[in-house]
Every structure is written in C-alpha cells, then in structure tokens.
C-alpha cells in the first residue's frame, strides 16, 4: 500500500506534473545551467538533495509547530529561512565530510536558495497534501515521495535539455532565434510532448 503511494507520487510529480515543463518552477537554472551536461547533472543532484531534506523539514515544521501554535500565516517567512539556513548547513556539512562530493556539488548549492522549485515544492506540499486530519507520518511520507519525484523530474528535463542544447549550439540557427528564444521554443515542444502523459494515473 505504501509502495503504491510512493510510486504514484513519484510518477505524477516526475512525468505528469513536471516541475519545469508544466509547473514553471526552476526556469532560471533551466535556462542558465543547462548549457553543459556535466553542470546539469551537478545542479540536478544538488537540487534533488536539498529538495528532499527541505520538504521533510518544512512539512514537519508546518504540521508540528506552525499549525499547532496557530501561526500558519507566517509559513512563507519560516520556509524561506529554513531553506536558506539548510542550504548553508548542507554546504558546510558536505565540505567537512566529503571533499569529492563538495567539489561536484559545492558551486551549485548557493544558487539553490533562490531556486523557486525548492520553495514551490514546500508550499505545494502544504496546499496539496496537508490536511487537518492527515496523520503526520503519512503526510510526511507523501511529501518526501513528491519531493523525490520532483527532483528526479527536474534532473531528467535539465539533462535532456542540456544534451539538446549542445546540439543546438552547433547547428545553424537564424541569428534572431539564437540563444534563449530557440531554447524556449524547444522547451515548448518538449512540454507539448509531456502534455501527452497527462492521464496516465
């Protein structure tokens, strides 16, 4: 039963409601970092890592602290503070424990604070999953599954797009469309393809 919930959450977050192509979250790294495949992989690994931790922490914070004490309206301030300090903490922790991981993820971590996908998933967990009657552990499980799916979807798209972009740079595009415009049109066509996945579940 819990595996079904996990699989459903992952597929719906990764493919059907893809974070970039249908929710428009994290467009800045999508356009900025996706010029090289290696950078895309590093960025998406960092995003997946931070997204899972931060959605677990923010869900816990909302359910056990903000709601219990009747202050759910400061959720935006609380979440962004938690995410900003969490990113700093993760950066320091990785730097201390694993030099090789820090080398591959380190430069992407500071960028993540202002990545709207992280805050978007945390806010989305509250509006879509959290209810007053939902048991804490079940909600937390769905929230973390959604975060894993969203992070994987982000990685999938940003990696696929970086591969396309490496080809695009070599191809003969009209001068007016060079750079961002043609990338946006390509993203639109990818999004059209992903629209076809709606209705799997």
């Amino acid at each position: 039963m819990s595996f079904t919930i996990f699989a459903t959450a992952i597929i719906s977050a990764m493919l059907i409601n893809n974070v970039i192509l249908s929710q428009f979250l994290g467009i800045c790294p999508f356009l900025g970092v996706s010029k090289k495949s290696s950078a895309a992989i590093g960025m998406s690994a960092a995003v997946l890592f931070v997204m899972v931790i931060s959605s677990a922490v923010t869900y816990t914070l909302y359910d056990l602290v903000l709601y219990q004490y009747g202050i759910p309206y400061i959720s935006t301030i609380a979440f962004i503070l938690v995410i900003a300090s969490l990113v700093q903490f993760v950066e320091m922790f990785i730097k201390k424990t694993s030099k090789s991981l820090y080398k591959s993820l380190g430069i992407y971590l500071p960028l993540i604070t202002t990545n709207c996908a992280i805050l978007g998933v945390s806010e989305g967990n509250i509006t879509n999953i959290w209810t007053e009657t939902m048991p804490y552990w079940e909600g937390l499980f769905i929230a973390v599954s959604t975060a894993v799916g969203t992070g994987l979807g982000f990685g999938l798209i940003i990696f696929a797009f970086s591969s396309i972009r490496e080809k695009l740079d070599a191809s003969n595009v009209p001068a007016a469309w060079k750079g961002v415009p043609i990338s946006l049109v390509v993203a639109g066509i990818m999004s059209l393809a992903f629209l076809g996945l709606a209705g799997i579940i």
């Binding site: 192509l21 249908s22 929710q23 428009f24 979250l25 994290g26 467009i27 800045c28 356009l31 309206y73 400061i74 959720s75 935006t76 301030i77 962004i80 503070l81 900003a84 300090s85 604070t113 202002t114 990545n115 709207c116 805050l119 978007g120 806010e123 989305g124 509006t127 001068a175 007016a176 469309w177 060079k178 750079g179 961002v180 415009p181 043609i182 990338s183 946006l184 049109v185 993203a187 639109g188 066509i189 999004s191 059209l192 629209l195």
Partner: protein, 255 residues
C-alpha cells in the same frame, strides 16, 4: 543619473524580463490572461518598492556577511502582507496565482535590486528604482499576457480576477468586427487553445524574445554600417590631406 532616467530605465533599456531574463518563472506561469499578468505585476511593484525602501533604510545596520538572509526576510515579510491582502480583497486573483504568490520571495528581480541598488543608494532613489523596475516588469508580463490571451481567445477580458466591477467586460474582441457580418460567430471557439497551456507559454515568450533580438540585431547592424562609413570617410579625408601635402612638397621641390 537623474531621477527621471532612474525611473524610466526599467521600462525598455533595462527591462527585467526581455533584457535581463529575470523572473522568468512568473513570466511563464501567470501570463495566461491579461488580467492575471497585471495583478501579478502590481503585487511585484508593491513588494519591490517597499522592500527597496526598507533595505535602503536599514542598510547601515546590516552586517555584510548576513545581508542576503536579511534581505530575504524583509522581502518575505512584504510578500506575506501582500498574500494576506490579496486573499482578503481579491480571492479570485489569489486562486489564479496559486503558489506563485508566495514565490515572489524568490523572484531574482527583487533580491537583485535590493543587492545591486537599494543597498548602495538613498531612500528616494531606491523607491524610484523599485517603482520603475516593478512597472517595467509589469509591462513585460502584460505584453506576454495580452499576446497569449488574444491568440487563445481572440479577445481581451477585464474584471474576471481583479475586484473591479460587477460583471467582466470585454476590452477588445475580434467578435466586434466579425459580428457585423455574421451574428452567430464566436471567435473564442476558434482560438489557438495551446497558448493557454504550458507549451504555449514557452513558445509565446520564445517568439517575443526572437522579435526583440531581431530588432536589436537590425539596430546593431545599422550602427556597424554607420561606423564603417565614418571610418572610410575619415580615411578618405586623411588620404586627401596626404596627397595635398605631397603635392605641396613636390611644388616646393620644383621651385
């Protein structure tokens, strides 16, 4: 920089969306209709102006190392204010914007202006900068919104989301022209529906950016041609001077 230039720079020369590609997430997500873009833009204007004012007021007391978290807290406070006001007075707009209302916090434009302008300038200049940049952002959003709504429905509606009047009004519609000939025709049945969906957002923004890039390349080419002509003219004048000098020298030598 005068105050007027400071105000106007955000509209065209330094437009956040079309020139700097800042705040692309709302530019793609909330521009389904003219009205949601306008609403989002006005909220951003409010948050940007107030956060710029506060940041430039407290800039002396914020230590340099923790400035980004402090700015984020200031911005998040104003976003919470805006969120509560929107929920109270314009619930339709609140529902339409959804998660993108709290996400104004991580809009790169607002943090960018706090970092680049408000932390270095006086209060009044920062307020003008915030107002100008915010209105420039609104202009960009509204431009995309009008294009998408017009292509999708063949007209522009007003009053659906913003609490303006009783019933929504149609500002512009192709029906007005077509119904002169055929009264039973509704253009909205024949709109390009994909522009209300996610792919349409990417494609519309791509087309707009391509048009801007095309105009920019035209202007650049004209400037380059003018520069080359100027250089050629200068070379010609220099050559003539040389010839004249040589002629004079020859004459002097002949004597």
């Amino acid at each position: 920089m005068t105050k007027k230039e400071n105000f106007l720079k955000g509209f065209f020369k330094e437009n956040p969306i079309f020139v700097f590609l800042l705040g692309m997430c709302p530019a793609l997500a909330v521009t389904t209709t003219f009205e949601t873009s306008l609403g989002m833009g006005l909220l951003v204007v409010f948050v940007l102006t107030s956060s710029n004012i506060v940041v430039s007021l407290v800039k002396k007391w914020i230590p340099h190392d923790v400035r980004t978290p402090s700015y984020i807290v200031i911005i998040a406070t104003f976003v919470t204010v805006v969120k509560m006001l929107t929920e109270a007075y314009a619930i339709d707009l609140y529902d339409a914007l959804g998660v993108f209302l709290p996400l104004i916090v991580v809009n790169c434009l607002i943090l960018g202006r706090a970092e680049a302008f408000a932390s270095k300038n006086k209060v009044i200049d920062s307020a003008i900068d915030g107002l100008g940049m915010g209105l420039g952002f609104t202009l960009g959003l509204v431009f995309i919104g009008i294009l998408r709504e017009f292509l999708a429905t063949g007209g522009i509606m007003f009053g659906v989301y913003l609490p303006i009047g009783e019933a929504p009004i149609t500002l512009v519609s192709l029906d007005m022209i077509i119904n002169l000939f055929n009264a039973n025709f509704h253009i909205s049945d024949y709109g390009i529906k994909v522009f209300t969906l996610a792919p349409g957002a990417f494609i519309a923004l791509g087309i707009i950016l391509a048009v801007f890039q095309f105009k920019k390349s035209r202007v650049d080419r004209k400037l380059a041609i003018a520069k080359m002509e100027m250089i050629a003219e200068k070379k010609r004048i220099a050559l003539e001077k040389k010839k004249l000098a040589a002629l004079k020298l020859a004459k002097a030598g002949g004597k």
